[in-house]
Amino acid sequence: MKPHTLTVLVENKPGVLSRVTGLFSRRGFNIESLAVGTCEETGMSRITIVCIGDDAQIEQVMKQTHKLIDVIKVSDITENDRVERELALIKVTAEPGSSRAEIMQIASIFRAQIIDVGSRTVVLSVAGDTEKIDALEKLLRQYGVKELVRTGKIALLRGAKTVKSAK
């Protein structure tokens, strides 16, 4: 049982996301993370799903997903060489003074940007792989995380290969 990163190319039509996610929940799969948006081709969307299961379970859920008429391609890119990113926005309590300076220092180490500064809070924007965001979140907890939102992971294969071209 380990996390698998699945890329699902779908027709950009109303209800497609609920067809895909409905299938996952009905077949007993928990989605760890989900990201969806348009892609390089008009009329198509790309869903990136991270879910946990053994190889047989993942194979079954991929086959079932592929059966959906609006699904064009399903790939498990867990074993492929790939780049991955997730974006998080984090609102942290930052009283003027030393804690605010510390937070800004942490932000710069993580290459996070401060995108909003309030009288008692700052909002950080950070992109990276899941582990990096987890690490930053953990560090910021001590100052008080008031609100946090993550996009879910997105991923691309490295090099010239694409999920459409891959077998």
Partner: protein, 558 residues
């Protein structure tokens, strides 16, 4: 200019539809108005569930797409059980539902229900049509998706304003449906087929295990040729009955929970299981790890998701059963003799035949056997669900595919009677019997109204034991005979039939069985037979839930 309703009806006709089963209501008024002048025949059922089952029965008997129509909200919701039944058994139907006007969608309007949401898990695909301009191609796509690949139900939800709006529309004559996300594989992988054939030559105890996929792909003749050519015996699932004539020497009958002992023993002892159009359902396999534990497994199915779903497979072949079986046959060069295997099977057949007591008591098995003899295994036999279904599967001698129609996957009580109506419209040349229990029959008994209205010549043989028999059987065997809510009070079914203007006969004695069946066959219209059978008869042999399929109880004595 054409209205959406007109485009819809024209689309149905272009798809070759002649008969639809439906029930009118508010938002489908424009469609019904169009039907009024159309050459399409519309059969008015008495409950929408029956419309879905009738479309399903039509599809199974004919191999063509069945169509049902209901209004929004309650009408659409009443189709749900019928759609789920068709989905579980991979039956091609197109369900048309009315919907509130697009301007009211999502507004909790009168008789609004989110039927595309509700049917998401029980349709192969569904559509909510938002623009009249899209309707024409959606109808074509729906039929295409429903009948191709692994067939299944498709639903089209039609808001009222989509039906009433007028647009310029010409039917696209030569346009192919092309969906990039839907490309079924029909041809099996060549090397895999070679491997399968090699295994057949290596095996000492091979066995065909065939199911509904063989019926759906019209592969029965091809299966028979291959079986006869190789001399490999065949066992069928409940859904595969009819793929091989019941009395064929290579046929072992049904396997699984209520299968024959010899079929289950053969699976257990086989060293090669050639699985065709099956899905290793729990009612077939019993305890999975002991199912065909000595066998290498070849699995042929058009749906890749079925391969390896429940059981690890040695040679997967994704493709259409008919095409793959044909290719296998073409590659077989010599005939291997499986004499020892066949003689072992013969010994089991002789030692453990299907039997029940012949003691002059009116038993349900006797009724079915009599019908089978009388019709010579011809005709179309539809069943309800429960004991009636299992006895029919065990004791009716089917000779042809698409003559046995039953709800296998979902196990829908109340399916048989309306499905039998549908089967009649598919095959008006055939006599159609619904083998029912008194419980199941009362689940869609209102359809007496429909068969009376149109004089649909469906013959209903009620095996009346005043119990919900299959549940009672489990209570007897596994719940210490505590018959919790399974006893039904007596009903005079003949009187009910008479009230609808339908003839019927009550039978209490073995000697009257044949004359009653004869009378049913000779009656032009519908006919109801109320067989007052032995109340606590059980379906045997039986594999208790969770046991290995060779650990059967009952059925070898008596």
């Amino acid at each position: 200019m054409k209205t959406g309703a007109k485009i819809l009806i024209e689309g149905l006709q272009r798809e070759g539809v002649e008969t639809i089963f439906g029930y009118p209501g508010g938002v489908v008024l424009p469609i019904y108005d169009e039907l009024y002048n159309s050459s399409l025949r519309h059969i008015l059922v008495r409950h929408e569930q029956a419309a879905a089952h009738a479309a399903d029965g039509f599809a199974r008997a004919s191999g063509r797409v069945g169509v049902c129509l209901a209004t929004s909200g309650p009408g659409a919701c009443n189709l749900v059980t019928g759609i789920a039944t068709a989905y579980m058994d991979s039956v091609p139907i197109v369900a048309l539902t009315g919907q509130v006007p697009t301007s009211l969608l999502g507004n909790d309007a009168f008789q609004e229900s989110d039927i595309t949401g509700i049917t998401l898990p029980i349709t192969k695909h569904n559509y909510l049509v938002k623009r009249t301009e899209d309707l024409g191609h959606i109808v074509r796509e729906a039929f295409y998706i429903s009948r191709t690949g692994r067939p299944g139900p498709v639903l089209i939800d039609l808001p009222k304003d989509v039906s009433t709006k007028e647009i310029e529309y010409e039917y696209p004559e030569n346009e192919q449906v092309n969906l990039r996300g839907y490309q079924p594989t029909y041809r099996g992988h060549s090397r895999q087929i070679d491997k399968a054939v090699e295994m057949m030559m290596e095996a000492e105890r091979p066995l065909f295990y065939v199911g509904g996929g063989v019926i759906a792909s019209n592969a029965s003749a091809e299966l028979l040729r291959l079986a006869e050519m190789t001399g490999i015996p065949v066992t069928t699932t409940l859904m595969g009955i009819g793929a091989i004539p019941c009395d064929h020497p290579l046929n072992l009958g049904m396997l699984g929970m209520h299968g024959t002992r010899y079929a289950n023993y053969a699976v257990t002892e086989s060293d090669l299981l050639i699985s065709v159009g099956v899905r290793f359902d729990d009612r077939v396999t019993g305890k999975l790890d002991t199912f065909a534990a000595q066998a290498r497994i070849i699995h042929i199915d058009i749906d890749p998701a079925e391969i390896g779903k429940n059981k690890r497979v040695d040679v997967p072949i994704v493709g259409d059963s008919k095409t793959v079986l044909q290719e296998m046959r073409e590659r077989i060069q010599k005939r291997k003799e499986y004499d020892r295997w066949l003689s072992l099977i013969r010994t089991w057949k002789e030692k453990y035949p299907m039997k029940y007591p012949r003691d002059g008591v009116l038993r349900p098995q006797f009724v079915i056997e009599q019908l089978s003899e009388l019709l010579g295994g011809e005709g179309i036999i539809v069943s309800e669900v429960g004991q009636n279904q299992m006895w029919t599967a065990q004791y009716y001698c089917f000779r042809h595919p698409r003559t046995w129609i039953t709800s296998g996957g979902l196990g829908t009580m109340g399916y048989g009677f309306p499905a039998a109506m549908g089967a009649h419209f598919a095959r008006p040349d055939q006599v159609v019997f619904d083998i029912a229990g008194d419980g199941s029959f009362q689940m869609n008994i209102q359809e007496l109204g429909t068969v009376s209205h149109y004089r649909i010549p469906v013959k209903v043989a009620i095996l009346n034991n005043r119990f919900l028999g299959m549940v009672r059987q489990w209570q007897e065997l596994f719940y210490d005979r505590r018959y919790s809510y399974t006893e039904l009070p007596p009903v005079d079914f003949v009187k009910i039939a008479n009230a609808y203007g339908i003839d019927g006969m009550r039978v209490e004695d073995c000697n009257d069985v044949r004359p009653a069946l004869q009378a049913a066959i000779e009656t032009d219209g519908p006919f109801i037979m109320d067989f007052r059978v032995e109340r606590e008869e059980n379906v045997f042999p039986m594999v208790p839930a969770g046991a290995a399929i060779n650990e059967m109880i009952g059925g070898h004595t008596g």
